[in-house]
Amino acid sequence: MRRFLRSGHDPARERLKRDLFQFNKTVEHGFPHQPSALGYSPSLRILAIGTRSGAVKLYGAPGVEFMGLHRENNAVVQIHFLPGQCQLVTLLDDNSLHLWSLKVKGGVSELQEDESFTLRGPPGAAPSATQITVVLPHSSSKTLYLGTESGSVFVVQVPGFRTLEDRTISSDTVLQRLPEEARQRRVFEMVEALQEHPRDPNQVLIGYSRGLIVIWDLRGSRVLCHFLSSQQLDSACWQRDGRLIVSCHSDGSYCQWPVNPDTQQLEPLRSCVPYGPFPCKAITKIFWLTTKQGLPFTIFQGGMPRASYGDRHCISVVHNGQQTAFDFTSRVIDFTVLSEVDPAAAFDDPYALVVLAEEELVVMDLRADGWPPVQPPYLASLHCSAITCSHHVSNIPLKLWERIIAAGSWQNTHFSTMEWPIDGGISLAPTPPQRDLLLTGHEDGTVRFWDASGVCLRLLYKLSTVPVFLTDTDPSEHLNAQGEDEWPPLRKVGSFDPYSDDPRLGIQKIFLCKYSGYLAVAGTAGQVLVLELNDEEAEHVVEQVEADLLQDQEGYRWKGHERLCARPGPVRFEPGFQPFVLVQCQPPAVVTSLALHSEWRLVAFGTSHGFGLFDHQQRRQVFVKCTLHPSDQLALEGPLSRVKSLKKSLRQSFRRMRRSRVPSQKRRPAGSPGEVPERSCRTERLGLQNMELAPVQRKIEARTAEDSFTGFVRTLYFADTYLRDIKEIQLMHRAPVVGILVLDGHSVPLPEPLEVAHDLSKSPDMQGSHQLLVVSEEQFKVFTLPKVSAKLKLKLTALEGSRVRRVSVAHFSSSRAEDYGEHHLAVLTNLGDIQVVSLPLLKPQVRYGCIRREDVSGIASCVFTKHGQGFYLISPSEFERFSLSTKWLVEPRCLVDSAETKNHSRPRNGSGPEKALGRARNSGSQSDGEEKRPGPVMEHALLNDERVLKEIQSTLEGDRGSYGDWRSQQVAMSQVSRPGVQAVR
């Protein structure tokens, strides 16, 4: 390290480094992990989601995003926007309240926590007295009403969080004001509902869990009306005009109570159990919304028949004789309904239902027939099926981009044409300079194509490899399952489906050629599919070829999973990427590396047994090489059998844990909470002592050749360079090789295949001598070509004790000089550090801590882009986006202004300034329609592309005769973790 520091003291270089490199975590894509609260501001038109880890995320128009993190690592239980303000209040599970605000700084809004507060009861009161159950921000925006477990309602002034003790509405106060006959029963307990009168800010509805609802006059401190239900109360709401109250109860019923201060109502106007007559689960929340047509919308959560559908997560919408129970695949956290905001409007006229489920956000269009879902522009559930790999492709040509979008639009016909209704704030971020694709492979055999150009990660297209194979689940069975009973009228919504038909379908490697539209996808059971983009639906047979990677190795027996069975006969494929060749590796071990050279029409693939090269044009195998070493036993068992043993060991360790815990639990005296922490403290201390007795030891031993002979092919690379014959380099430091790169005569990385043909890159310098860079987990080494000789090296592990996990070439542009840029290596280590290592001299440039070293899945999921950005998973459902570049930053920059909310208050009248911003809210169907039709432009693009390809093909073939003899350049390089590099001519 020292010598690099010493040489790095050149001030000019240091200045240049500052112009080139800068580390930022810019935005989190995907769906928040473990959401726990939902909030919505009708005036700002901004949605807020709180999580169990204490994060608050705000979303408005696409690109308008904010994130805040509570200092306390507690779950956010409730989020409430202050009416008409750029402020919100969060309630955490430690009973603390936090006030956040959006403040404009330097032209952009920032979310910040202003203050926090914990409600204190009178001295000596039980903790439950101040345990907050409901929060009502008053329309005056000056006070918060806090309902508690004790039944008291506290009043707190905001900002400042000053408790207005004289205004506390205790249950005793209410009891005294109640008429004699209602006082007899214990009707109070905790406050379950607090709702301000929609027209009169001096009236508040207070609902208690035992079933009593009162309308409280804030000024007169008296009960205006009271209603007594026979059932436990769960929630209640006002009708828009304040003349009706609807309450919902724990027995699955809801009741309507007409509000008339003059006559006391003893019985509800109407009581209804929507999914009776058998016992039902509670309706936990209800909306009663009026429409111009007269018949109201009733939207409620829960209430399903306990015995047969009690496990469903449902929200029912009832309107005008229609009833649908939207059935979610994960628990419903909360929901809200978007409706008319203008208080003067006579009707609610709801237009969208927003449901926050545990694993996804679902929005329904309530205006369109059948209430179709609206495709969210953000908060995509990345983990619909678990992500198994990802692949980033920068700067997608417009033609390909349009064709992918066209293919995706075929899949999105079930979505509503409604423009995204949550559109508060203005995104000031510059339009992304280029189109980037992020491809994620999933456990269920699908590949999802995401628009990763900007702040919003948007799903463009979903490819499924499942139709190629025969799976256990027959599609016809699936249809039967759909036609369930007519009642309740369940309808599955959302895309989260964590169940995979067959773990072997899992996608492990993806490689897309952006110029030719060829895609290679490889999976868990050794399947390699080559696909091409077709704008039409097609039915054809997928040719199947077997690649025997063991070759003539004797005495091996594959103990892992079997290969997948391909579906015989022609298969129907929808428009998009359609497979035409299936190369099946034998043994069917997980594919560990994949590369595609569309110019040469070659696909290279590697497993733990070897690697192969396949010509997908001529449909023939070019080359197979076994890399297996006789001493490697692991490669013979499949990954699944290894998983099994892992499971087993996990189970054992859990058992051990349980065994050690049981006695202490038994001894714990029941009902003395004070005892518990002390006890656990003691066991912890005991644990620590044990640890000290047997400290963790690490054996220091030189690696032997046998240790590292795993033959596991980690990387494959195609290069057009100089090489004499076949060469195999074995790195004697025995670390797995993770990256290969060839630099041309000017030390510039070789361009991608077809890049030069498309005029997107300078042709490489083929005059000077080329250099081969081999990156192992421990060292970077440069060899000269064609005569392989060691030139340079950087021994990372020997110097820092870190190992390379990911390496990728990136181009760093200067933030100052417009056209200045350098190619360097972006490196992620096992410690979660990200480093930039210079090319071609291998000097460490900068280093930033990025991922926690314990976050193994985060480190494993990291992908770099070609322009110094990257992504890694911070949870199963979220990608963190980071940037190493000063120039390429994709981060939300947005403005939310309370003044702007004035325009928003009449959402459907289309106000002037918004149109000027190009966000015509209700004209969405038109632009959507345009995207769906693959126009003639795109067809032309296809033809054009084919023609270019043919040209290239012919020139290449012409070349062979004249240069082939002395220029032995076409080289496929492959890489084995044994550690070696093998080159194949």
Binding site: I700, S747, S789, A790
Partner: protein
């Protein structure tokens, strides 16, 4: 072979050559085709080898009057019975001088056979390190012996600007019997590891230090603070406050002096990468000039990026192919199924 005793006479003035003597021994013992190791007891009672003319003559000349010769079958030979190599001897001399009563409990002094002679360990940088520290170099390559030690997390007390402070550290936790680490006698359980090949380990995790040590295992240089500080060299020429106490203040006091002592790469013994090529015989690949060691040329390269890149044709191609094993050995060997590959290969070259 058991124990068999022969007594015979030899002309002291005309001892002849070692080969003749060796033949004589084989003849006397009637073991003409058995390889044996020959040793003798010198005047100090040490067992020393006889394997060339010089030490044979020395043995004969020092016989007083009897020369006791010990013969062992080579394959059964107990090498450790022989005297030490010079490096260990140096250390023993030191310790002997320091503490005459502190003879190592090693039963034998080890001297390896000259044909097998190579360093297995050394103490280096004695002149620039504080007395409380010891920098040990373990030469792993070439030996079959495992490095043979384990490390663990622990804590040590340091002198800092804020007074004494307990800081986490890495310690040797176990030595494998018969391993290189144990056989050198320079490392011991509970020695604190301060540096690995010149890189301080403070602030690094156990796994990181493990990776560093393994990555450097071919030429591992560990700086330790021995748990037993009684064997330290006492120097009086030092002016800085190293008192030989077990408190570690050296990290603050010595950085500059430690600096030039060695670059981690100053002896690059782990560069044995192999290139397998077409011509069967493993060939070493020349190191392209300039290599990593020459820092000046690197900096120059960076400055003259344009001109410096037109290929470094190695000038020492031939000489390195026969170079002694050890510096840089990148072999080129034949891919066995080369013919097959070439046939298939023509398809790739579209």
């Amino acid at each position: 072979f058991g124990a068999e005793f022969r007594r015979f006479s030899l002309e002291r003035s005309k001892p002849g050559k070692f080969e003749e003597f060796y033949g004589l021994l084989q003849h006397v013992h009637k073991i003409p085709n058995v390889d044996v190791l020959v040793g003798y007891a010198d005047i100090h009672g040490d067992l020393l080898p006889i394997n060339n003319d010089d030490n044979y003559h020395k043995a004969v000349s020092t016989a007083n009057p009897l020369l006791r010769i010990f013969i062992q079958k080579k394959e059964e030979a107990d090498y450790s019975a022989f005297g030490t190599d010079t490096l260990i001897k140096k250390k023993n001399v030191l310790t002997n001088v320091l503490r005459p009563d502190n003879h190592r409990k090693k039963p034998h002094i080890v001297i390896s056979m000259p044909q097998d002679f190579r360093p297995v360990s050394s103490i280096i940088d004695v002149d620039i390190l504080p007395e409380t520290h010891r920098r040990v170099r373990l030469y792993k390559y070439g030996t079959e012996k495992p490095l043979g030690f384990y490390i663990r997390d622990g804590s040590s007390v340091r002198v800092t600007p804020h007074g004494l402070e307990k800081v986490p550290g890495i310690f040797i936790s176990r030595l494998v019997p018969g391993g290189l680490a144990q056989s050198t006698g320079l490392l011991a359980v509970n020695d604190e590891v301060l540096e690995v090949n010149g890189i301080e380990v403070s602030g690094k995790s156990l796994d990181q230090v493990t990776d560093m040590m393994i990555a450097n295992s071919r030429n591992l240089i560990i700086t330790v603070r021995p748990a037993n500080q009684r064997n330290n060299v006492v120097r009086n020429s030092r002016t800085s406050g190293s008192s030989g106490q077990s408190t570690d203040n050296s990290l603050l006091g010595y950085p500059q002096q430690m600096e030039p002592s060695f670059e981690p790469e100053d002896e690059d013994s782990d560069e044995d990468d192999i290139v397998i090529e077409d011509n069967g015989v493993p060939q070493q690949i020349p190191k392209a000039v300039p290599n990593t060691e020459s820092l000046e040329s690197l900096t120059q390269m960076e400055l003259n990026l344009e001109s410096g890149q037109n290929g470094f044709i190695p000038s020492n191609e031939v000489s390195l192919t026969t170079a002694a094993s050890g510096t840089d050995t990148e072999f080129e060997t034949r891919v066995p199924n080369q013919k097959l590959l070439e046939e298939d290969g023509t398809i790739i070259t579209l």
